[in-house]
């Protein structure tokens, strides 16, 4: 057995748009608080180091992983693992929406957001380059994976991590509340809850959802962070719309039981998927060059 149980703390708060130094301070405070709560991992929302709609602030809030601000957060992972998200700048001056997992004072894994939405109110691809990999890494809880917000709205993303054996999938998000007027419909909030519940059961793993709160130019981020168990039940749920640190214990025995009871990932026919994807790609290529 890879692990027995560990404790996750989710830092749900409202970053200051464009003020990296103020946000870094908040991060370090939450790292301390998570440590006091005996958590082994503390998870921050998408772009919590910069704010979400960075637009033309991108150029000044971007940080190379060697930047002192990033080094400080990595350094802060000596006693508790830290999953944080920022605008990453590469040596060749590309900008990514990145989530970094640091442990024991070292950078263990980087996930660069794969899907940068440009529909409706979104305009991410205008400023950022998309990541090209979705990989698991070894951390607390054995194999873990990261999907940033929109990544998780694509069916293939959790599938690819589950196939690699992920038992925990972290989802840092900056999800705006929208389409939420109707009495019968909770809009994006309801969609996230359904999505995490179905994914967790299909993949037989934990989902750790870290969504920010606050407002940016009237756009409301609703929070509602929490941990969804492999049985499709919430292990812990944070409040909507307010700062919180949500703490949950992730017990591997739940993964084990779920995967025995409903062995969907065991029965997954990865080679069939691969062959059919190649065929589907070949057919698509006749009229377009999709990737």
């Amino acid at each position: 057995m890879a692990w027995s149980a560990f404790r996750v703390a989710i830092a749900q708060f409202a970053p200051k748009l464009g003020d990296v130094s103020a946000n870094l301070t908040r991060h370090l405070e939450y790292v301390n608080e998570a440590q006091r709560a005996n958590a082994q991992v503390v998870v921050f929302p998408e772009l919590a180091l910069t704010g979400y709609q960075t637009q033309d602030l991108t150029l000044e809030v971007a940080r190379h992983v060697s930047h002192p601000d990033i080094r400080r957060l990595i350094e802060a992972s000596r006693h508790v693992d830290v999953l944080f998200s920022f605008v990453e700048e590469t040596d060749d001056c590309r900008f990514f929406v990145t989530a970094a997992y640091a442990s024991g004072g070292r950078l263990v894994h980087r996930h660069r957001k794969l899907y940068l939405p440009t529909y409706g109110m979104f305009d991410e691809r205008r400023y950022f380059a998309p990541g090209d990999h979705v990989r698991t890494f070894f951390a607390q809880g054995g194999q873990a994976g990261v999907l940033i917000c929109e990544d998780a709205w694509h069916l293939s993303s959790p599938y690819l991590l589950a196939v690699q054996g992920a038992s925990v999938i972290y989802v840092p998000a900056s999800s705006p509340w929208r389409n939420t007027m109707a009495a019968s419909d909770f809009g994006s909030h309801a969609f996230w809850r359904q999505l995490l519940q179905v994914y967790a059961q299909l993949c037989g793993c934990f989902f750790v959802f870290a969504n920010r709160v606050g407002y940016e130019d009237g756009v409301h981020f609703y929070g509602g962070s929490g941990v969804m168990g492999p049985d499709g039940e919430w292990v812990a749920e944070g409040p909507a719309s307010e700062d919180a640190m949500v703490v949950a214990d992730l017990d591997f025995r739940m993964v084990r039981r779920a995967r025995y009871t409903t062995p969907l990932m065991r029965d997954e026919r990865v080679r069939l998927v691969l062959a059919e994807m190649q065929e589907a790609l070949r057919r698509r290529a006749t009229d377009e060059t999709g990737d």
Binding site: L17, G18, D56, M181, A182, F186, Y215, A240, S241
Partner: protein, 283 residues
């Protein structure tokens, strides 16, 4: 209104109230303000804004301003005072008759003819805006907008007049949703029930002037704007063609009122085009 559309436009009032009061608290305080000021006309839109602001900030941090003109209906002032009474909030009455009349006395003489009702109405709306922005500086309070989504889309308002504000909590609510939320929050009955009116001249009502009801507008706008149905598709669903095309054309014609002035592009970074920052930059 068709039942299926009515259901879609029916609000979850406590959820919407929590988002809108959170919006007011957050967007007011993070830019360094503590207070808000708004015009209170006696109509349902400004009454709803007053209720939301009071719930968000508390009665000591809101200030209502009643700005009647000599032809304003008596019931408008009475209804505005009922809102003040219900919320127990501070208010000021500033009669705009003298500055508006002084302006037209001079300008009518210079131009040699009498101003139209439309010009007079626009001037009143802008006088109120000028007053609110002056009180904003005097009271160190942000000006709240009171235009709803229906009138913003239809362009049924005065540019740089009643459409001007620092923050608008109700601009994404259709008129029928304003009514629901106002009823939920306890806006006085006489305000809820009276016919909507800009009250710029005697017996004016919005629906008479527009030529259709707000319910008709909301139903068509929702399908066109929110559901992205084409006007043809809406007509094919059984709505009068004249009405649908009339509303769509109104929205298009008034787009200018919803945007900042356009700037002739010369440089590589032009304000509004490729100089992009949120207003909440740094907050």
């Amino acid at each position: 209104m068709r039942p299926e559309i009515e259901a879609k436009l029916s609000l979850n009032p406590s959820l919407v109230t929590s988002v809108l009061t959170g919006f007011l608290r957050d967007e007011v305080t993070k830019v360094g303000f503590q207070k808000v000021v708004f015009g209170l006309s006696g109509g349902i839109d400004s009454a709803l804004t007053a209720f939301l602001a009071t719930e968000a900030l508390g009665r000591d941090r809101v200030h209502a301003v009643l700005m009647p003109y000599r032809t304003s209906s008596r019931s408008s002032v009475e209804d505005a005072l009922k809102v003040v009474e219900a919320l127990q909030i501070p208010h000021t009455v500033i009669d705009i008759t003298a500055p508006v009349d002084a302006y037209f006395a001079q300008v009518d003489r210079i131009l040699g003819y009498e101003a139209s009702a439309l010009r007079r109405g626009n001037r009143m709306a802008r006088e109120r805006m000028v007053t609110l922005y002056d009180l904003s500086a005097a009271m160190n309070a942000l000006v709240l907008g009171t235009s709803n989504k229906t009138e913003l889309l239809l362009g049924y308002g005065t540019q740089f007049g009643d459409m001007a504000s620092a923050l608008n909590p109700i601009g994404d609510l259709y008129k029928c949703q304003v009514r629901q939320l106002a009823a939920h929050l306890g806006v006085p009955q006489s305000v809820l029930e009276k016919a909507p009116s800009a009250d710029l001249w005697a017996d004016q009502t919005d629906e008479k002037e527009l030529g259709f009801t707000y319910d008709e507008a909301d139903e068509i706008l929702y399908q066109w704007v929110d559901l992205r149905m084409s006007p043809d598709e809406i007509v094919s669903r059984g709505y009068p063609e004249r009405l649908v095309r009339g509303i769509v054309e109104r929205v298009r014609r008034n787009q200018y009122k919803r945007r900042m002035p356009i700037i002739a592009k010369l440089s590589g970074r032009t304000i509004g085009l490729d100089f992009r920052y949120l207003r909440d930059w740094g907050t």
